[in-house]
């Protein structure tokens, strides 16, 4: 009674294409096979578990830089249940990622050169181990959702600024739950688009972010690690212009939020030539919003050279100005 349908099923399975993944089923199996469960020591409020992404056939695994890595025995558990002891090969304190090495061969892995670049509105697949629900030979959990957009990360973690402030992928999947960090975000072709970041609170919305470190940053980190270079903290900008050097004195009364009112413009300065006047309120620098005096110097320090665009409120008008930035001030 059951035999003919089983025959049919067997025929169908045999006929499914193996690669590239044309079916969602095959795609997801491939993704799950490349994501691992990471376990380490539990210290204080930090979790002792996370997710990891296999990035080479001989056992390199990207995971989140968390205190579980300080454990004497870090264990990586593959989708088929095999457990390996892992050692930390490199750390990136800026990205909050680490590169582990396990003694394995011929593992399925995500090709870091296959740079997936999903756009806002595209499907994303998340593969991670939230709440460590996947144990032993159980594959990690799959989520399907949307690429919400790419934005610069402005975040914090336990009252400290999150060290990475570059571009991140945002998604509407819940990937900030305990254990997700270090997991994979892929596009609908199964190519790695990002690694789920360590849980961070947005400074802009004060909500927990669902985000991933983009593949470009991850690949650059692995390159540095493989070539033996130590992970670098983002180098401080050298001799970047400041509000003062441009001739702008801001009315800084102290406190956490100080609107960037211009108290004085130095005669003969770039700012004066550009048309800035006292009592202007700086709303944006290079279209980046300014809510506090501190934002102005921070944006000036990070920007690339070139004329500066200021958006100011003057009375009831919004005015755009261009300030030439000259090297020697």
């Amino acid at each position: 009674m059951l035999f003919p349908p089983l025959c049919l099923i067997a025929c169908i399975i045999a006929m499914q294409p193996a690669d590239p993944p044309e079916s969602l089923d095959a795609l997801l199996q491939g993704v799950q096979g490349r994501v691992v469960k990471v376990h380490g020591g539990r210290i204080g409020r930090e979790l002792g578990f996370a997710s990891g992404v296999i990035v080479s056939a001989d056992g390199e695994v990207i995971t989140v830089l968390s205190s579980l890595l300080e454990s004497q025995s870090i264990r990586v558990v593959l989708a088929d249940g095999r457990r390996f002891v892992a050692r930390v090969k490199a750390r990136d304190p800026r990205l909050r990622l680490a590169l582990l090495a396990i003694d394995a061969q011929d593992l399925p892995y995500f090709d870091l050169q296959g740079r997936a670049a999903p756009q806002r509105g595209d499907w994303l697949i998340a593969a991670a181990n939230p709440f460590k629900v996947a144990e032993g030979p159980e594959p990690v959990s799959i989520m399907l959702g949307t690429m919400s957009g790419r934005v610069e990360l402005s975040g914090r973690r336990r009252a400290q600024d999150f060290p990475y402030d570059g571009e991140v992928l945002l998604t509407d999947m819940l990937v900030n739950t305990p254990g997700c960090a270090g997991g994979a975000i892929t596009d609908l072709d199964g190519r790695l688009a990002g690694v789920i970041g360590q849980a961070a609170l947005s400074n802009l919305t004060n909500t927990w972010l669902n985000y991933a470190i983009p593949i470009d940053e991850v690949a650059a980190f692995v390159e540095r690690a493989r070539s033996g270079a130590t992970a670098e903290i983002h180098a401080a900008a050298e001799q970047a212009p400041s509000a003062m050097s441009l001739g702008i004195r801001l009315f800084d009364v102290g406190g956490r939020i100080r609107p960037a009112y211009v108290e004085r413009v130095r005669p003969g300065s770039s700012a004066e030539h550009g048309g800035l006047r006292a009592d202007d309120l700086i709303l944006a620098v290079d279209e980046r919003p300014v809510t506090s005096c501190g934002d102005v110097d921070r944006i000036l320090a990070e920007r690339s050279p070139g004329p500066l665009r200021l958006t100011v409120k003057r009375g009831e008008q919004v005015v755009s100005l261009t300030i030439a930035v000259v090297d020697s001030q």
Binding site: D25, Q119, T177, P178, G179, T205, T207, S292
Partner: protein, 371 residues
């Protein structure tokens, strides 16, 4: 029978919906959304504020602090009225600016707020703006695909979340419910349909502010939870003229103690009838002496309210839903039954008598957060 079904599925190469057809369908959906979102961007604006302070305790869920980032609004009229959420002005910022899709920026004036709906109206000095196209409420269907957009993450373009319409009538009928992620990242922004029309305005609702006068931020504790709300465009349109005139809209109250019990049907399990069993009365009974405007209008204890502005009110929830269409200060016509007579009375709604109370400690979030 099973064989026939398997043959059909075999033909489409997909036994359980994870085959190539599913992938093709997903890619098609993504392409449609990408094109649709691009068409909507001209009428979605970024709002930046400068200054202000964290609000009084009670305005927000316990433990929630406001962020520093930009917020979102939608262009409602060509001459520069912009609808947004009053959540975005909880800091009472002295300076509000609006940034349009074509890069023009304007100083904005906060015209008025609609307190129960958590919306607000801004005005900028502009002309010829593209107003948001709207879908009539009657066209909405639970299960339809929807997308929420907002500037809260400060990118050049709004970020989005895709979900479905979970329910069409919520919060006394003024809002729809969606599982698209609604949060400060898109409060004040639109919920759109696949045609690129606005179906609602994303706002914090539910949570501690479900039926009581919670603060403007009540409901934020449900952010990104899969339970989100957007105020219907029809409601926004109905309130527009009142807000435009500068009137702050509050929840209205008839001003008389009413029997809030609902009729209960079915026979009781025990011999004694349950305390809340109520024979279906066809209306809502006034159970105490009316005050203020209601008393002046002639409403009396014992009257049974049958309709509000000809909207039938057979039970308390229907009356509350009918009154939710109006605001304190509006005049409504009550049809009441007194004894065997029916009468019509005109009553001016009072501001809600229950003062806003600090919301209780925030409900636990659906998912724990790594700390």
């Amino acid at each position: 029978m099973m064989l026939a079904r398997l043959l059909v599925l075999f033909h489409f190469g997909d036994l359980v919906g994870v085959g190539p057809d599913r992938m093709a369908e997903m890619r098609q959906m993504a392409a449609v959304w990408k094109a649709t979102v691009a068409e909507c961007e001209p009428w979605i604006v970024r709002i930046d504020t400068v200054g202000g302070a964290q609000p009084e305790p009670g305005a927000l869920a316990a433990g929630f602090r406001l962020g520093d980032g930009p917020t979102t609004g939608v262009i409602w009229t060509a001459d520069g009225y912009i609808y947004t959420s009053n959540f975005n002005f909880l800091k009472t910022p002295p300076i509000i600016t609006v940034h349009l899709h074509d890069d023009r920026a304007f100083v904005a004036r906060l015209v008025a707020q609609d307190v129960p709906a958590h919306t607000a109206l801004l005005k900028i000095d502009a002309e010829g703006l593209p107003p948001a196209p709207r879908t009539p409420r009657s066209a909405l269907r639970a299960g339809q695909s929807t997308c929420a957009l907002g500037f809260g993450h400060a990118g050049k373009a709004p970020t989005l979340s895709i979900g479905i319409v979970s329910a069409i009538s919520r919060i006394d009928g003024i809002a729809l419910q969606t599982d698209a992620r609604i949060s400060p990242a898109n409060y004040g922004g639109p919920l759109i349909d696949l045609q690129g029309r606005m179906i609602g305005l994303c706002v914090p609702l539910g949570g501690t502010g479900m039926h009581t006068a919670g603060g403007a931020g009540a409901g934020v504790e449900w952010y990104d939870s899969g339970v989100g709300f957007a105020v219907h465009c029809e409601y926004l349109e109905a309130r527009f003229e009142a807000l435009k005139s500068g009137r702050t809209l509050q929840r209205g109250d008839i001003g008389a103690p009413l029997d809030a019990r609902e009729p209960v049907f079915g026979s009781p399990a025990t011999a004694s009838a349950p305390a809340d069993a109520l024979p279906a009365d066809g209306g809502v009974r006034v159970i105490g002496p009316p005050e203020g405007a209601a008393a002046a209008a002639g409403l009396a204890e014992g009257d049974v309210i049958l309709s509000v502005n000809d909207i039938p009110t057979p039970r308390f929830t229907a009356l509350r839903k009918a009154v939710a269409r109006f605001s304190a200060g509006d005049e409504v016509t009550l049809t009441i039954r007194r004894g065997s007579e029916e009468r019509r009375l005109t009553v001016t709604l009072e501001p809600e008598s229950t003062p806003a109370t600090a919301p209780a400690a925030a409900e636990s979030r659906p998912a724990a957060r790594e700390e």
